[in-house]
């Protein structure tokens, strides 16, 4: 247990360092974008005085380090500044968009967990059959090889052309009611989910196969234990670490905003917020959304690292899996 505790503390420390690093990268990367912010917001027709006034209004005339300090200290308190374009606090817009992104993420994730994991376990267990193995590999490979923008565009066209119970053209006005939200997001979630599902099935299958070659499974077979017993007690838990890691990556990716799917379907989530923000050089928006994505990734992975050490005590003992 002491190893787990030490591991946990180490992970938390690393998390803090990584968070700091990402915030620096984000902040300074945004300021490296050519063209500054005022060209878009003020338009090319603006006068020099207007530019100055805008810079002052958003504190962009201060030294960069001071700006960074203000931003980081604000962000810690949940203040991400004001959108240069809408002049509304970014956090206010995020509060509206996060539920949408989270719902979409959960829907896609549940496809990964509820279908991808069992599928991976099944195909992994049956991988001794040669043709079945190849088939499983090809199908899962296909799932991760079809880019979202292809699948999304096709889905958009097909669904809008045939009378269906899904509507794809009016996601801009999504409201926060869970039932309507879920219903509206079925199609984009399916597009996202297919990739997540295939990736999860693939990883699970690999993980299961890797466990199956381990001697302790052979030992269990030699003890005359039933396949069900072996899978339940000796395979699933052992195979879960890489699957957990992948699910963490997927979750973080989904929470950071499934940028392309959100853009294709015009979903008012965090990802599309980032894309429009970037297009306009809306500093506060870009900083907040990218930071959010990075934080989601870092926090989820730290949590999962700690979880992994509970599932498989060797992780903490080895001291550095990643």
């Amino acid at each position: 247990m002491r190893a787990v505790l030490r591991w946990t503390l180490t992970r938390l420390l690393i998390m803090a360092v990584t968070l700091l690093g990402t915030s620096v990268v984000i902040f300074f990367a945004v300021r490296q974008m050519p063209g500054g912010y005022e060209s878009v917001v003020l338009g090319p027709l603006a006068s020099e005085e207007q530019r100055q006034a805008a810079a002052e209004r958003y504190g962009l005339d201060q030294p960069v380090l001071v700006q960074y300090w203000h931003w980081v200290t604000g962000a810690v308190q949940g203040d991400f500044g004001i959108s240069l374009v809408s002049q509304v606090p970014v956090i206010q817009e995020l509060a509206l968009r996060l539920p949408v992104t989270v719902t979409l993420a959960l829907m896609a994730l549940s496809a990964a967990v509820l279908i991808g994991v069992p599928l991976g376990v099944l195909t992994g267990l049956r991988s001794t059959s040669r043709s079945g193995g190849a088939l499983g590999r090809t199908v899962a490979g296909l799932g991760i090889s079809v880019p979202e923008f292809v699948l999304g565009s096709v889905a958009l066209f097909v669904v809008s052309s045939v009378a269906s119970c899904f509507s794809v053209g009016n996601l801009a006005s999504l409201s926060g009611e869970p039932a309507t939200l879920v219903r509206a997001l079925v199609l984009p979630a399916a597009v996202l989910g297919l990739y997540c599902l295939a990736a999860t099935a693939r990883t699970t299958r690999d993980a299961v196969m890797n466990v199956l070659v381990e001697p302790h499974v052979t030992a269990a077979v030699a003890r005359g234990e039933t396949p069900g017993h072996i899978v339940r007690h000796h395979v699933l838990r052992n195979a879960s670490v890489p699957v957990l890691t992948l699910l963490g990556t997927i979750t973080a990716y989904l929470l950071g905003g499934a940028v392309i799917v959100e853009t294709v379907f015009n979903i008012p989530g965090v990802g599309s917020y980032m894309v429009t923000g970037l297009g306009r050089h809306d500093y506060a928006v870009v900083q907040a959304t990218v930071l959010l994505a990075a934080v989601a990734f870092i926090v989820i992975n730290t949590v999962l690292d700690i979880a992994a050490s509970l599932v498989d005590p060797r992780v903490a003992a080895a001291g550095g899996r990643r």
């Binding site: 063209g35 006068s47 002049q87 809008s160 052309s161 009016n170 006005s173």
Partner: protein
């Protein structure tokens, strides 16, 4: 079966045949005029009231927020125009009709007297006063907005009595009414603004047909009907929702499945892509036009040579450009938008007669050393990339190597407008053409339009013609000035008009019926939305 429906069917069959025999989208699948000046007219038999959803491609995004006087993009004008009214309005023939002014007179060349409609009231219930009108024009004239440059040489504004406002110009300015007809000149509730009751940058308070209920940046607008609107009886839309949908394909899907009644498209091929979808597609001829900037101010640039600039200008075949990049839904134009009354004929321009071979000869004669030239476009409007590729081919044929650079909007402006002199060889962009030929021409004078100083020189002869065009009011004389102006711009070849920017609009006839003008000056396809009629309520 009414006329429009059979037209839809005909267009559908036409499109089907074309696709079937491989003709592609070369032929327009759009509607022709159903009445002089109109692509569509509202069906008077539809009397139901109800909510309507409209989708547009981008949102207003100015630093000035919702202040109409600081609006610079066509989308902002359209949206603000739903709430604010102007003194006069422009009709389908670019003539002027009463707006908040019931009538006006022009006792002399520099004086306008407007009689305001006293039945108008703001959506907070307060009646419109002459002080609102005078205050608005003063505010506009003294403001930093770009429209201050379009409203012309306004010297003073005074109220004559409770119904009349007099505007004194310091010199004659023919496009004055056209400038008043666009929403940056919308009449504001000056009393509330001055008392601080209303922050016009974050709230809207107008006399127009709709009241803004909510706005979420880049997401949607919700408007309700303004019950105190003086023509409230004509407004059948009870709630108007304007969704901002960035992707063309998504708007197409929405129109196809009926989740929006009306949408605009930046891709001209939306005409053929939606031909059999049940939506009726329209191609509006807009006075907006694309231009190419040829930067003659950068040090040591071969483009400092006017002959080379002109040769490049001449090497661009505008008709071919329209055919390839804009599916033939466009037409060449000079600096005076060719669909506006009195505009010059683009076929008469000096560059138009040179031809491909002639241009190649001119380029050779200019001593151009073969150094590749860059051509900037911004990537938020894909058609610019398409046009750039066509131009690249045309210039290639004339012996000039062109490298296309796609930038995001900010980087584009940085290099074309903010840096002086501009850090580029050539760039593509577009201007709104407005409602009078003398308006957009003002951008060719860098002394008026500071932003063009980065790539265009200030030429006395050209500036003189621009002023003359603005001052001249006699139609025949105007036309002559315009022609001379067009030719001069063509000769300098610094900011070269190319072709019109088509406006593609799709309407779902099962949801909405409305008027749509064949020509449009302010990119406002929502112009007739207040009198549009929902087809089936709910």
């Amino acid at each position: 079966m009414n006329v429009r429906q059979s037209c839809t069917a005909a267009a559908g069959i036409l499109a089907l045949t074309l696709t079937g025999c491989g003709g592609g989208g070369a032929e327009p699948a759009a509607q022709a005029e159903v009445e002089p000046g109109y692509l569509a007219v509202a069906d008077d038999t539809a009397t139901a009231e109800g909510p309507v959803t409209v989708q547009v491609d981008y949102d207003s995004q100015e630093d000035g927020g919702l202040d109409p006087q600081l609006a610079t993009t066509a989308r902002s004008w359209s949206l603000f125009g739903l709430v604010y009214e102007t003194l006069v309005t422009v009709d389908a023939e670019f003539g002027f009709q009463p707006g908040l002014a019931t009538s006006w007179e022009q006792p002399d060349e520099t004086t306008y007297i407007f009689t305001i409609d006293t039945s108008a009231q703001f959506s907070n219930g307060r009646a419109l006063t002459v002080d609102d009108v005078a205050g608005t024009l003063e505010r506009l004239k003294d403001g930093v907005g770009v429209w201050a440059g379009q409203i012309g040489p306004v010297d003073s504004v005074e109220t004559l009595d409770d119904t009349r406002v007099q505007v004194n110009l310091s010199e004659p300015y023919t496009p004055f009414l056209a400038a008043l007809a666009n929403s940056p000149a919308g009449i504001l509730p000056m009393e509330e603004i001055e008392s601080g009751q209303v922050d016009i940058a974050t709230e809207m308070l107008g006399t127009g047909p709709f009241v803004m209920e909510s706005h979420r940046q880049d997401q949607n607008w919700v408007f309700s009907r303004h019950d105190g609107y003086r023509h409230a009886g004509d407004v059948l839309i009870t709630e108007l929702r304007v969704d901002i949908v960035g992707e063309d394909a998504t708007r197409q899907a929405a129109l196809r499945e009926g989740s929006t009644a009306l949408a605009n498209f930046s891709n001209v091929d939306a005409l053929s892509l939606l031909a059999n979808s049940g939506a009726t597609m329209y191609s509006q001829q807009q006075s907006d036009f694309y231009y190419i900037l040829i930067n003659g101010l950068r040090e040591d640039s071969p483009l400092n040579d006017q002959d080379l600039r002109f040769a490049l200008n001449a090497a661009i075949d505008r008709q071919a450009l329209s055919n390839s990049a804009l599916a033939g839904e466009s037409a060449p134009t000079g600096v005076t938008p060719s669909n506006l009354p009195g505009a010059c004929d683009p076929a008469d321009l000096p560059s138009a007669g040179v031809g491909a071979e002639g241009a190649a000869g001119l380029i050779e004669a200019s001593g151009y050393d073969g150094e590749p030239l860059d051509l900037l476009v911004y990537n938020s409007e894909p058609v610019l990339g398409q046009m750039a590729q066509v131009i690249q081919q045309q210039l290639e044929a004339a012996g000039v190597t062109v490298n296309i650079e796609q930038l995001d909007t900010a980087a584009y402006y940085e290099r074309t407008h903010s840096t002086v002199p501009g850090n580029f060889d050539m760039a593509l962009g577009w201007y709104a053409g407005y409602g009078d030929p003398a308006m957009v021409t003002r951008w060719w004078n860098p002394d008026i339009a500071g932003f063009s100083a980065a790539f265009a020189g200030s030429h006395e002869d050209l500036n003189g013609l621009i002023d003359q065009a603005a001052a001249e009011s006699e139609p025949a004389a105007r036309e002559q000035v315009f022609t001379e102006l067009c030719h001069t711009v063509d000769e300098y070849s610094e900011m070269v008009p190319l072709v019109h920017r088509p406006g593609i609009v799709g309407l779902n006839p099962d949801l909405l019926t409305m008027d749509l003008a064949a020509n449009e000056g302010y990119g406002d396809f929502l112009r007739y939305l207040p009198t549009a009629r929902p087809v089936s309520a709910g």
